[in-house]
Symmetry: C2
Subunit: 253 residues, 2 copies
């Protein structure tokens, strides 16, 4: 059994639009998938509204608990964009204008109507001590302060920022996974799943039931940091499903 | 300014499939929208993996902070379904088989292959003192323990359970909202948004930018518990956008 350090991350989604039900969050899955490849495990995510105290409290809890913290949302130019202020408060550092961010925005808005207004200049504000995360899409950069990463709320921009961070963070062995799908009620194969998981160390099996086209099915996701363990668990699971007379689909349904 | 009690809820999404990036959560938005209609404000959501301590800790934090707590996920028949155990541990009560839940499952599985197996019987387990939340879709009920509500992870089943709870919970005045869309960079109208919000008590304006078809736009969501305040804020915003020469779309883009 591996005793290598497991690198962990917490995530903070900032935005009333998620908590009002108006918008489905897409950033948790996006950041989570990206982190898997970096060998970092997203262990907890929190969603809070655009509220100074709520953001600061959640940030402090997450940075105490995990190696990295990623936030999305609230770094734009409008009055409800208060992430920088809240994070600075949580870190007990002042908010300053980052000269490089200012230069990027000056350049980006040079030819645009209105130019670099006061509202747009808000996007150059960072907690003191921060570096920038490049954003090729809309100019306004993301912000890195130690192991805290402040990213955009718009998923396409977040994707750009993650791209800029790829390979930059220390992580462990990526968590590998394989999926086996089965047109069966998960309750019919619950024993099989438990037995296969028990028989393999460093292996977790998740069962994700669904209803589709009026039928009941489930995807079983097997995860391990070891390719060998993973392959063995998948083989054992498929054999057991076959023995029990279940149709199954390697790769998932 | 209204001094009526604001009813709040916290939500706990339980499931490694969300934190691995495999699945986009759809329950936060679903529960949030439903809560709005009940006059209850979703104030925080957390996502944790299928881990006893993580679930129990998050549940205790949320039930201390909010009037209601809703959980989704982890109440099925497989080995990774541990929500009931974790919640019972958090509440310091034993897990018991609920006789009515057992009867429901016996009835539901009577004609199904395998009948009521031990795995399926897991779905009759509840923290002692709980009541059931009906689920017309798949038999297995949701669970209510005081102001804590344990619901399914599959969104279609969660919807059934919410339906069964409609009108059952004490809440305040529903938060009303109107949306105004604008094909403009939000940074160009940031001052207008701030001024309109400042001029109206009991009114919040959120700005939600997007990129679509290669163009920049934003939806401005105005919220208030007062219809009068809401209408006045929307009128003022539209007038100000018109004066500034912006095209806008009542109802949102």
């Amino acid at each position: 059994m591996s005793t290598a350090k497991v690198w962990t991350a917490g995530m903070l989604v900032i935005g009333g639009e998620i908590l009002s039900g108006r918008t489905h969050d897409r950033n948790i899955a996006q950041v989570a998938s990206w982190l898997q490849v970096q060998g970092i495990r997203l262990t907890e995510a929190r969603v809070v509204s655009d509220d100074m105290v709520a953001i600061a409290d959640a940030l402090n809890a997450l940075r105490e608990g995990y190696d990295y913290v990623f936030t999305t949302g609230g770094i734009g130019p409008t009055h409800d964009d208060i992430t920088v202020d809240a994070v600075a408060a949580a870190l007990s550092v002042p908010v300053v204008v980052h000269p490089e961010a200012r230069a990027i925005l000056e350049d980006y808005y040079r030819d645009k109507p209105g130019g670099l207004t006061e509202a747009r200049l808000r996007m150059a504000r960072v907690p003191e001590g921060a570096e920038l995360i490049p954003n090729r899409m809309s100019g306004a950069p993301g912000i890195r302060h130690g192991n805290i990463f402040l990213m955009a709320g718009v998923p396409a921009i977040t994707a750009q920022m993650l791209d800029g961070l790829t390979g930059e963070l220390e992580g462990g062995a990526p968590l590998l996974s394989e999926t086996v799908g089965c047109w069966t009620a998960e309750s019919e194969v619950a024993d099989i799943l438990r037995e296969v998981e028990k028989a393999h160390e460093d292996c977790q099996i998740g069962s994700y039931p669904f209803f589709r086209d009026g039928r009941t099915g489930a995807n079983f996701v097997i995860r391990s940091t070891s390719r060998e363990v993973l392959d063995s668990a998948v083989d054992t699971l498929c054999e057991a499903l076959a023995e029990a007379g279940r149709d199954f689909t390697p790769g998932g349904i």
